[in-house]
């Protein structure tokens, strides 16, 4: 057992812990921000009592979730019932570790380290895989709580996620074709050319739009929030969930938002790259965070403005429009790449 190994292990664990905490904080404040922004969009005030302007609201919510009574439906399939939220939150959190949130920086005692927790050759595939596993959380939750609304929600969720995973993956292939690697760090480094402005969105506008749409669908957000359509099925798959388990689902949804925003940033908006990144590598995380926050705001904005799809509209849109367009985008990119124009 050499010390470097131990040190790297420790470092990784700390990094993961830090990342999770940061992400969870951001998520908490995303919730707050969402409520405030929605309130503004709808001409209300929103929560502004707890703390200054409601800054402590998330903690109040957390406290409420913890302290609430656990209600377990009698007829539910217990094991799966408890497994589902854990699956959801785990699969939501796992992809976080592969995103590079900054260029290589120099630290005291530690020397040069790249600001990424884990670097895979197949980072992108890793993300996609974990995301695809994330379906089970919702589907099992809907099935296990033995409630027709939940079952509906679960079925809808699995159908929707299966359908939109295709277009999501295909929309990313354009980027992969251009960068020639599945390694997220590699993709970002390629985009840091042109003084950090060689972003893939310039070459992949169609792919970006497709990705955005299907990402919203993947995270079950408005206008694709059919699995938890309040007006149709009480609360969809988590109708029967209360207290902390509900909190887990709740967090999972927002963490998913966060992760898909990270992916969009990394693949299309150049990740941490931006102007003056060579001179000031520490700008990287802030660029990264800024872009992510832009996406989060976009989410909230869309939620505040758009109505919900009908289910058949959803399916037709996904299969008959989004998928063909994504395939055409791939063909176009491949052709251009073949002639070396991009």
């Amino acid at each position: 057992m050499d010390w470097n190994f131990v040190l790297s292990i420790i470092l990784q664990f700390t990094a993961i812990t830090v990342a999770f905490t940061v992400v969870l904080m951001i998520v908490a404040y995303t919730v707050l921000a969402e409520r405030r922004v929605l309130a503004f969009i709808q001409g209300r005030l929103g929560p502004n009592r707890v703390g200054y302007g409601g800054v402590l609201q998330p903690f109040a919510d957390l406290l409420k979730f913890i302290l609430k009574e656990e209600i377990v439906p009698d007829k539910s399939t217990k094991f799966v019932y408890f497994l589902a939220p854990i699956l959801a939150i785990t699969t939501a959190l796992m992809p976080l570790i592969v995103y590079p949130f900054g260029p290589t920086v120099r630290l005291p005692f530690l020397g040069d380290i790249a600001l990424v927790i884990a670097r895979f050759d197949v980072g992108l595939l890793y993300v996609l895989g974990i995301t695809s596993v994330g379906v089970y959380g919702i589907a099992l939750a809907g099935w296990s709580s033995n409630n027709k609304y939940s079952l509906m929600g679960g079925l809808r969720a699995s159908a929707q996620l299966i359908s939109y995973e295709l277009s999501l993956g295909l929309s990313l292939i354009g980027v992969v074709l251009m960068s020639g690697t599945l390694d997220l760090s590699g993709i970002v480094e390629q985009q840091s050319a042109w003084y950090g402005m060689r972003w893939n969105i310039i070459f992949q506008p169609i792919g970006f739009i497709i990705y955005l749409i299907s990402a919203i669908a993947e995270t079950n957000r408005v206008p694709f929030d059919l699995p938890e359509a309040e007006t149709e099925l009480v609360a969809g798959f988590h109708t029967e969930y209360s207290a902390l388990k509900f909190a887990l689902f709740f967090m999972a949804e927002y963490v998913n938002m966060f992760t898909v925003s990270m992916l969009a940033t990394t693949l299309f908006l150049g990740g941490w790259s931006g102007p003056f990144i060579q001179q000031l590598p520490w700008l990287g995380p802030f660029y990264f965070l800024g872009k992510i926050i832009f996406f989060l705001f976009l989410y909230i904005w869309i939620r505040g403005t758009l109505p919900r799809f009908r289910f058949d509209q959803l399916m037709n849109f996904g299969w008959k429009f989004l998928l063909p367009v994504a395939i055409l985008n791939i063909i176009l990119t491949a052709t251009l790449a073949l002639f070396g124009w991009i």
């Binding site: 399939t77 695809s132 589907a139």
Partner: protein, 226 residues
């Protein structure tokens, strides 16, 4: 270190597999199978095949099993009931065959293990290989194994079409096939299912006319035809 990982994941895989066949609820079996897949993916990672690992998760855990779970939820099947009496014998047979199979496998492996030329194979001293990486797999896939690759894509296409055909509510061929109009000879059983094996020829222009000839307008199937 890697040995520990292997033992961990192998144990996990075997445990999940056993629970898969022990469980009576198909959904539990499905969940256990997902466990098997994921632990196998981890083993692939330890085998320095990250690409295959990722594809394993995406394809098996992410696509196939999602479909299975979806179907289970859709059909909402109950737990298996006890096996019928006449097929009891299958369980011991299965155990016996399993034992035989395991014996043969162990024999083969043991023979290989104990062979004097054990150390001959190349991997004894080699740096972490490139074979598992995406680039090499893609290269192999698009150069040496291009034909199988294309055939596989064709297979997928056929699978899509087949799945759609199977899932259609109405099959392509309408339940009561009509005889094309135009002078022809129909056997009696063609027009009247009750008269099976009665091949007396009736000269008609169409099935309807044949029925009229036979006085079968009020035959039970004559009404629900078209």
């Amino acid at each position: 270190m890697s040995a520990i990982l292997f033992i961990l994941f192998a144990g996990l895989a075997i445990g999940c597999a056993v629970s898969m066949i022990v469980q009576r609820n198909p959904l539990y079996s499905a969940i256990s199978l997902i466990g098997v897949f994921i632990s196998l993916a981890c083993i692939y990672v330890t085998l320095a095949a990250p690409f295959i690992a990722a594809v394993q998760v995406i394809v098996y855990a992410g696509a196939i099993m999602v479909l299975v779970v979806f179907v289970i939820m859709l059909l909402n099947v109950e737990e298996e009931e006890r096996p019928a009496f006449r097929l009891r014998y299958l369980v011991p047979t299965a155990i016996l065959f399993a034992a035989l199979l395991a014996a043969e496998a162990s024999f083969v492996i043991f023979t290989v293990q104990t062979s004097p030329y054990q150390q001959a194979h190349p991997s004894a001293s080699a740096n972490p290989s490139e074979v598992g990486l995406t680039a090499s797999i893609g290269r192999g896939l698009f150069t040496q194994y291009l034909l199988p690759f294309e055939i596989t894509s064709l297979l997928l296409l056929m699978a899509i079409v087949g799945a759609m055909t199977l899932a259609r509510r109405a099959s392509f061929l309408s339940p009561n096939v009509r005889v094309v109009p135009g002078a022809q000879v129909l056997t009696r059983q063609t027009v009247d299912p009750r008269a099976v094996g009665d091949a007396t020829a009736i000269e008609t222009d169409s099935t309807i006319e044949a029925e009229r000839l036979l006085g079968l307008e009020n035959a039970p199937h004559a009404k629900d035809r078209d």
